[in-house]
């Protein structure tokens, strides 16, 4: 439903092509679109206003470079300001500069992902940094919350504070620190109950916990889908306990995540980590430049490439790439590629990271192209003869019937696969024409038949 910001700006700038410096009126008109895009991405209104003022200041009077359109120029400035506002380039790690046991305090609204994130951080610290981690749940509010953290600790293979019924959160915190000292833990993660920023009693409680434990990190855990309320929450928690870092959860969803900008602006604290799934290994460093692209609707290309790099067999991928470039990509390669894609996770979540892919993602959702389907397609291809795989054109009615029977599918399924292969080959030809740069600039839409070019 959202169009890439660059797409939106097209209309505004079509009339102004090639006009020297960006003037105030042009910029203001463009910034109206930027404002809407940011609000649609859930950046909080006061933060949007500051942001727009900054962009305007920087944009007015700037020479438009010969090589780009005024629209691209403004998008570039918007993107630069956004990256800066999100914390500049690169990721900021957790601060572990404190005497052991190092307390890390997790705070946030109900259901934002504190407990899961506690488990994820524990896993990361114990596996990557070989720290001895103790998980302690101070959540006496939500039913079975302490048990939830205990089970996560087991899964992560770290220690968890024995559950003692009837203790107050403050008492549990004290016991956690004591236990950690006695049993020589390096890090103690204190998971707290979710609380509303306007709940005075519970905010007072968390203040006391903070005071008693003096954590090296106080992490505010926020859902990426959060709307305008992000500013209220961030301010209240920051005022009460002094937030030292932010964790954005559910980045695996399709929310644009404007709350990241709001939270950062209000607290001044860096966004340190992002959650990208329910499993304990789904924790990633925060990269401002990627999330900027996401908020602006320009896709997280780097994230996609990185995810691909992690899961895809490098040699295999390079072989496929060479074949694509030469245009000798056949069904055999298609099968290999399907296997790679299956490894990377659901196709729609991958596509969500690409610019302009929202529509395509929807179509795929409609077609229910999930893992099962990918496996079915792999089965179809494996029922073909080598010759059929290399020269799919020879697959006519009788061969189709045989292949369908062999793979336990229908002729329709076989047709669908062949059609998809055709589409894909077509897409690849277009991709080769466009080159790597063009793909980054125009996004996936350029690959689709009749795809609109942003500028």
């Amino acid at each position: 439903m959202f169009e890439a910001l660059s797409g939106k700006l097209t209309g505004v700038f079509e009339r102004l092509r090639r006009r020297g410096a960006l003037n105030e009126t042009d910029v203001m008109e463009a910034l109206r679109e930027v404002r809407l895009a940011l609000l649609d991405a859930d950046v909080a209104l006061p933060v949007v206003k500051d942001f727009i003022a900054k962009v305007r200041e920087r944009a007015v009077g700037q020479e438009v470079l010969d090589s780009v359109s005024p629209g691209q120029q403004v998008v570039k400035i918007v993107n630069d300001v956004m990256v800066e506002a999100l914390g500049g380039a690169g990721a900021v790690g957790l601060n572990l500069n404190a005497p052991a046991p190092i307390p890390i305090l997790m705070v946030g609204l109900q259901g934002s992902g504190k407990t899961t994130t506690s488990g994820k951080i524990a896993l990361r610290l114990s596996q990557r940094l070989r720290r001895k981690v103790l998980l302690a749940s101070l959540d006496t509010q939500r039913p079975a919350a302490q048990l939830q953290l205990q089970q996560l600790a087991e899964r992560a293979g770290v220690g968890s504070l024995p559950i003692v019924a009837g203790q107050t959160p403050l008492q549990i915190a004290a016991r956690a620190m004591e236990t950690a000292r006695r049993e020589v833990y390096d890090v103690v993660i204190l998971d707290t109950a979710g609380r509303l920023s306007i709940d005075a009693a519970l905010m007072e409680e968390v203040k006391q916990i903070r005071f008693a434990t003096n954590p090296a990190e106080t992490l505010l855990v926020v859902d990426a889908m959060t709307g305008q309320d992000a500013v209220n929450t961030a301010k209240a928690f920051n005022d009460a306990v002094g937030v030292t870092g932010i964790v954005m959860t559910r980045m695996d969803g399709d929310a644009r995540g404007g709350a990241a900008l709001s939270m950062r602006a209000v607290t001044g604290a860096p966004i340190k980590l992002t959650g990208s799934g329910e499993k304990l290994d789904a924790l990633e460093d925060f990269h401002p430049e990627r999330v900027a692209g996401r908020i602006l609707g320009m896709g997280d290309v780097v994230g996609l490439v990185e995810r691909a790099a992690e899961t895809i067999d490098q040699a295999e991928a390079e072989k496929l790439a060479r074949k694509m470039a030469k245009g000798t990509f056949d069904l055999e390669d298609f099968a290999a590629q399907l296997k790679q894609i299956t490894k990377m996770g659901s196709l729609s979540s991958i596509l969500g990271m690409l610019p302009g892919a929202a529509k395509l993602q929807q179509q795929i959702g409609d077609a229910n192209l999930d893992q099962k389907m990918l496996r079915r397609q792999a089965a179809i291809i494996s029922s073909m003869t080598a010759k059929e795989r290399r020269t799919p054109d020879i697959i006519k009615a009788s061969r189709k019937k045989r292949i369908a029977a062999g793979s336990g599918t229908t002729v329709q399924d076989v047709n669908r696969l062949l059609k998809q292969f055709d589409d894909m080959s077509g897409m690849m030809k277009r991709m080769n024409k466009l080159g790597q740069k063009g793909l980054m600039r125009h996004g996936l839409s350029a690959l689709m038949p009749g795809g609109r070019r942003p500028f």
Partner: protein, 306 residues
Amino acid sequence: MALGSFFSKLKQGLSRSTQKLSESIGAVFTRRKLDEDALAELEDLLIAADLGTAVAARVIASFRRSRFGKEVTDQEIRQALAEEIADILRPAARPLAIDPTLKPHVVLVVGVNGTGKTTTIGKLAQQYREQSLRPMLVAGDTFRAAAVEQLQVWGQRTDATVVTAPPNSDAAGLAFDGLTRARAEGADVLLIDTAGRLHNKAALMEELRKIIRVLRKQDPAAPHSVLLVLDATTGQNALQQVNVFKEMVDVTGLVVTKLDGSARGGIVVALAEEFGLPVHAVGVGEQAGDLRPFDPDEFARGLVGT
């Protein structure tokens, strides 16, 4: 619960969630001409309540038509704006009617992670108990750590049977067993909890469809209701959530939770416009009694602070 405390809690929740908006409206509109600037500020206030840019613009456009240039007081503007918003919300105010002849009326509860599905089931069970109906609960979140135990606590609190299966079992199979048992034991309502899932995960959405397919083997009309639980702090992504869940599992109604917080839940206005789904109830706290019928006038008045 005493009626008095019922209303005071509701009012407390609603007024808290809208306090800031109303303060700013108060500041902006004390006897002032409704000019372009004033309208723009009013539009901003609606945007800051999560109504979204498009809906805020539409609400303001109809204001412009009827009131532009008039000298308006604070009170007038609030009333008119509340009226405007209530008009949009009114068709959505439909409670979830349980059909006691179905035995059981099957309610499937779905939504993205952490919105309040399990808690809402606990609250609904409490309500049905108070109406002398017999609820039975199915711990269909077999994925998240201690999700079963969480629902079991709610079962104890509301004296309702909880049907469970070991971790990571097939949720559809469990739902089927739950229905068998509810029929055998003559339960009035079967509330099926499900694991939270993001709407963009096709495989997980497919899992929900499977639950429905399997239930229908026993009762072709099941589930009789599919509740989507939404968190009031959610921004514009709620539109996407409703869109996909509706498409995939035929959502029949919404429950909006966490309205006791500072989030104003303005997205409900956008949802009412776009989808016209009923909002069956709102959550205003973490306790069993903290579920309220959705009252559009109250909600709208709360939003603008009258």
